[in-house]
């Protein structure tokens, strides 16, 4: 990754407008020594207006639809807003909001509650289990599909299928399979003389079930991304290694894995974030149950605002902010550890 960008920068270093990012930082010293000052505002605008115009739609949409609600969400987490005291309309009467600013009370309440630790432990377990299993399976399957043999494109189509089906449909399909009395899984087990498994009704089984479904949903993305990565590793490397007598495992360990580093880092980061916030699987499959066994942080936040009565908007926002904070810390640590290993993005 780093090599690529610096290469293209080097290629385009002479170009006036193109690809100046890193060349600016590295080249600024020489520019400075030649006595050129910081460009004026007009110059900056005339130079960059193309780029700004092209990113403007994204900035606008993100700003309005994510920026504002985020600020408001953070504000709500500092109040005692709930269903009873927010502004609302009953019939013709408009009732103004009466909730008050309470500072960090919500945070101390949530963090002091043992429920938070319980949810956090399960959420982390769920994320680590899902991401590691998904990654391993994706890697194995991608390696298999990267060879040439008959029926390869058929297998590939079949294996990507779970990605092509909308999530809520797949989750519905799995509920159907997991059904305790009538689901096919239990019918098959019964046929084999094994007692029915309470897939979604027993805390431990429910945890395994939601992880299974999420892995099933996540493998295709992982596989396709890693397959792409595998195809970008030059075949000559393998030939050379084979000439030198490297075993299959050695080739995998010393060529494939390093070659997949950049792809892996991106997909692991993304899929960790996605899994951490994976609302639909848990909510549609178990609603966080049985009891609260499979409740992750996100479904907890949703429950506070939309399921429990009275709806606790402030509490929900507090959980939301805590989730965001945890993920940002994770991303920063992840990025720092990558940088230590010489990767930059």
């Amino acid at each position: 990754m780093a090599a690529h960008t610096s290469q293209s920068v080097a290629k385009a270093a002479g170009e006036d407008d193109l690809a100046r990012g890193r060349s600016r930082r590295t080249g600024s010293r020489t520019e400075g020594s030649s006595g050129r000052n910081r460009p004026g505002l007009g110059q900056v605008i005339s130079k960059h207006w193309y780029a700004w115009a092209m990113v403007a739609p994204v900035v606008l949409v993100l700003g309005v639809i994510i920026g504002w609600p985020l600020v408001r969400g953070i504000y709500l987490s500092l109040t005692d807003a709930n269903e009873r005291n927010v502004a609302r309309t009953i019939g013709v009467n408009e009732i103004p909001a009466t909730y008050e600013f309470v500072g960090l009370d919500n945070y101390t309440a949530v963090l002091a509650d043992p429920v938070f630790l319980q949810r956090l432990v399960w959420t982390v377990t769920w994320t680590v289990a899902c991401v590691s299993v998904t990654f391993t399976l994706g890697l194995v399957l991608a390696n298999m599909l990267n060879r040439s043999f008959r029926g390869r494109s058929f297998y590939r189509m079949a294996l990507i299928l779970p990605w092509a089906v909308p999530g809520f449909v797949s989750v519905f399909a799995w509920r159907f399979l997991f059904n305790r009395d009538n689901g096919i899984l239990n019918k098959v087990l019964e046929g084999g003389g094994i007692a029915a498994v309470p897939w979604l009704d027993d805390p431990t089984w429910a945890k395994l079930s939601v992880i299974t479904v999420n892995v099933w949903l996540g493998v295709p993305f992982m596989m396709v991304a890693l397959l792409g990565g595998l195809q970008s590793i030059p075949g000559e490397l393998y030939e050379a290694a084979e000439m030198d007598g490297a075993s299959a495992w050695q080739r995998f360990r010393h060529i494939t894995l390093p070659g997949l580093r950049t792809v892996s880092m991106t997909v692991i980061l993304l899929s960790t974030i996605w899994t951490f916030n994976m609302f639909p699987v848990i909510f549609l499959l178990t609603r966080g149950g049985p009891g609260d066994a499979t409740e992750i942080l996100v479904t907890q936040a949703f429950r506070e605002a939309f399921v429990e009565s009275p709806r606790d908007f402030a509490g929900s926002a507090t959980w939301g902010v805590l989730i965001l904070a945890l993920l940002m810390i994770f991303a920063l640590v992840y990025k720092r550890s990558l940088r230590k290993q010489g990767e930059v993005w």
Binding site: L18, H48, L70, L159, P162, F168, G228, T266, A301, A317
Partner: protein
């Protein structure tokens, strides 16, 4: 090396069996849940829970959907929302990706960071304020409201992928366009975009799937039978006919078909597109 000498890359029979065996098992696991729903939808509703693979095949469940529910209205709403999201999403992601890939401008690094960070936002923190905002803008129950929301989900990831993709297209092509007198927009539109077709196919697929399969916002923002999209429509259905698996499975099949069709169209490009996108991040 006893016996016959194998060519490089050739497998022994044992390895071949292992390879195909593993792939067959994996494929069955991947396909079975979907296939089972398809088969169930073709059984008479009263036999939905039978374990026979095929039993008195019939289209009754589908006929029921079409005749007794507003399925086609929901379907039309979903198609409209997903199609507009896809077109706008691809266009916005492409311009952003191009700008980030080719120009170095003040605010670029924060923008890249923002695109990543938006992936981290739990929808739980946004949904209440967003609901209020949509209410103030008069966009509740309007497809436009949903489209804008979906764009915020799809575009950041797509822009990232497009950036990676544009990074693989040599800068010399831009330069030659500029020399020939095209402005940056012209270069982008006429030269680079046609070269980025695989990337566009992947982002289109991603945007479509996002908009087609989203549940939480769709059910929160849209009310009233004639405004619902499929995700919301199906939910009214569940509460009405709780134990009625038959029509549910038929609806699932009809919902999965457009997504799968789109996927077939895009899948040729999927691996190539992901390579560029994912490797360069």
């Amino acid at each position: 090396m006893a016996g016959s000498v194998r060519k490089r890359g050739e497998r022994g029979p044992l390895a071949s069996i292992g390879l195909h065996g593993t792939l067959v098992v994996a494929s069955v696991v991947a396909v079975f849940p979907v296939l089972w729903v398809l088969l169930t939808s073709l059984k008479p509703a009263k036999d939905a829970i039978s374990t026979d693979f095929v039993k008195d095949p019939t289209f009754d469940n589908y006929r029921y959907l079409v005749e007794e529910t507003s399925f086609f209205t929901w379907f039309g709403n979903s198609v409209m929302v997903a199609a507009v999201t896809t077109v706008l999403g691809v266009f916005i992601a492409a311009t952003t990706g191009y700008a980030v890939s080719r120009f170095r401008f003040p605010g670029m690094r924060p923008l890249m960071w923002t695109l990543l960070v938006t992936q981290m936002f739990p929808m739980a923190i946004l949904i209440v304020p967003l609901y209020n905002l949509m209410g103030q803008l008069g966009l509740l129950n309007q497809p436009v409201g949903l489209i804008i929301t979906y764009l915020t989900i799809a575009v950041p990831f797509c822009a990232w992928m497009m950036k990676g993709f544009f990074d693989t297209i040599p800068v010399e092509i831009d330069e030659s366009g500029r020399v020939d007198g095209l402005n940056p927009f012209g270069t982008f539109w006429r030269l680079i975009l046609p070269l980025a077709k695989p990337g566009l196919a992947v982002t289109a697929f991603y945007s479509f799937i996002t908009a087609w399969g989203e549940v939480a916002y769709a059910s929160a923002f849209m009310v009233g039978d004639e405004n619902l999209t499929l995700a919301g429509g199906l939910q009214t259905f569940v509460t009405q006919y709780t134990a009625n698996w038959g029509p549910m499975t038929a609806a699932s099949v009809l919902i999965a078909i457009p997504a799968a069709a789109f996927f077939l169209f895009a899948q040729r490009h999927l691996v190539a597109g992901m390579t560029a996108g994912a490797t360069k991040g």
